[in-house]
Amino acid sequence: MFAFIIARLLQSIPVLLAVAFISFAMFAYIGDPVTAMLGQDYTEAQRIAVTHALGLDQPFFVQYLHFLWQALHGDFGLSYRLARPVSELILERLPATAELSFTAAFLALLIGVPMGVYTGIRRTSPISRLFMIFSLVGISLPTFLIGILLILVFAVLLGWLPSFGRGDVVHFSHWSTGFLTLSGLKSLILPAITLGLFQMTLIMRLVRAEMLEVLRSDYIKFARARGLSQRAINYGHALKNTLVPVITIVGLQLGGLLAFSIVTETVFQWPGMGLLLVQSIGVADIPVMSAYLMLIAVVFVVINLIVDLLYFAVDPRLRASGGAAR
């Protein structure tokens, strides 16, 4: 298993290098940092001095290595828009996005799995039909539209929940959390539902399809023949075996959550990384964009690795073969 992890890590290195290369190309060739820093009037000597100071007179590969070295140290330069270090900006907003994404994923699992199990076991009941219609709407409606509808109903018409911002947050050195205050929790509800709804419906449909598949199989018939209770069969035998594909999709979707948090954060003016990215794209703030791209790539690689490790925890066949089967 250890060898497997190492192999996976080695596989992800070319991906990260490729993404870093794109980030670097964006950084180096889009816009002209020299004129951006010098403004309108400058002499040729000044231009050469700044070009030298930025290292732009170095050969291409030296610049790329330099960029990699700095990126490894979390240094992505200054934001053109806010004139502050990009790493500082992103770190400041990381907690908001992390809390939102994890709450959304948690909600999606907590509600999606039971709904999937129910619709899988009672295929024809009216409640199952209702769930299926609900899931169709959840999959088809764009995220931002769901957010707007929720704001209209729960913030504008009913006035129960706030429609923007994070509420009051508590700071712990670098981390800020909205989990500990009432207004923070209230602000989290609508964005988390908006973000989690697509995943929730996806998980529900997936669990349902897997349950239907598994309930037809021989070992379920055998369990029934042994006289096990329906409950033990459904949860002890069937549900357990639906979990492998569910983990794959949920894990991969966690990355999707990060991407869709861009949309949700804009709808709810949630002060996270996604909102920062959208604001940066609007004014072509390249350093922020390339740093975000790098960060997302790292997150995706880590998520994929965790998903692979979870397989071992869930599927005993993989543990037996040491992962060679994959």
Partner: protein
């Protein structure tokens, strides 16, 4: 039996008539397409004709509400534009961007897929690695970043005019890997068939074999994928426009209209957001259902 009668008698149409979901979805898509296509002739007002706009007409509620004006069936926005007309033109733009970006993804994906599947070796490895890396990221993120980069490259004065093509490019690039993978898979199967061998023996060029012999045989699954991707493309465009990095208010798609309306949600003018929202939701839902049905109908194993 002539061609028309044969089509009418086909399994395909029989299955279609027997499926209420497919018929209703098809009707919704048809209505949207007609509204979009005929907007310049059937829309009650022209939202782009600045001379006809009157600020006195701004923020009028729909005609069926107490303060409504019969001239504006679904109300007006903040500039006095008729919502119904704006939505028809908006659907036109949304469908235009959606269809062209899927077409771009199709062209790039088919070319890359044929090449990778037929040539194999290093070309295959490189193309598919690129596709794999891109597939790890959600399409919306790719489209957002491509859009951002192209914006940064283009001079500012071109932005408004070029934005629609920037969007088509960004979304098309975001969607190509799926097509490439599908085509590659089928091409690798077809490559070993006798008719390809025969074509090679006659001495046809690889380009000719790919384009006129293999392509027609791998097109089926690609077309289903294209239908499903049309929904994704339309939603992606609407999302980018909603985020403010898509189409400007002077050239509003459904997403732009929803963004404009979002500012007025709190003052009670819900119709500016909700009507385009319903239109977008219904259209995408119908396209997705139709795509699902098409996939099942064309899959011989499910019959």
């Amino acid at each position: 039996m002539n061609a028309a009668a044969r089509i009418l008698d086909s399994d395909f149409l029989y299955g279609f008539r027997r499926s209420p979901v497919a018929v209703i979805s098809f009707l919704i898509v048809l209505i949207c397409a007609l509204a979009a296509l005929l907007a310049p002739w059937i829309a009650p007002h022209n939202p782009f004709d600045l001379a006809s706009l009157n600020l006195m007409d701004s923020l009028k509620p729909p005609a069926f509400l107490p303060d409504g004006d019969a001239a504006f069936l679904l109300g007006t926005d903040d500039q006095g534009r008729d919502m119904l007309s704006a939505m028809m033109y908006g659907t036109r733009i949304s469908l235009f961007v959606g269809i062209l970006s899927v077409a771009l993804a199709l062209i790039v994906g088919i070319a890359a897929g044929l090449l990778a599947g037929y040539a194999g070796g290093a070309i295959d490895a490189v193309l598919m690695r690129v596709a794999d890396v891109q597939l790890t990221f959600p399409a919306i993120l790719i489209a957002l970043l491509v859009d951002g980069v192209v914006r940064a490259v283009l001079p500012r004065e071109f932005h408004e005019r070029a934005e629609i093509y920037v969007l088509i490019f960004a979304i098309g690039i975001a969607l190509w890997p799926q097509f490439a993978r599908t085509v590659r898979g089928s091409t690798m199967v077809e490559r070993g068939r006798d008719y390809v061998m025969a074509a090679r023996v006659i001495g046809l060029s690889p380009a000719r074999i790919m384009a006129s012999h293999i392509l027609p045989n791998v097109l089926g699954p690609v077309m289903v994928l294209a239908t499903l991707n049309l929904g994704i493309a339309i939603v992606t465009e609407a999302t980018l426009s909603f985020l403010g990095v898509g189409l400007p208010p002077t050239q509003p798609s459904l997403g732009t209209l929803i963004r404009i309306g979002n500012d007025f949600l709190f003052s009670g003018e819900w119709w500016i957001t909700i009507f385009p929202g319903i239109m977008l939701g219904a259209m995408v839902l119908a396209i997705n259902l139709l795509g699902d049905w098409l996939r099942d109908a064309l899959n011989p194993r499910l019959r």
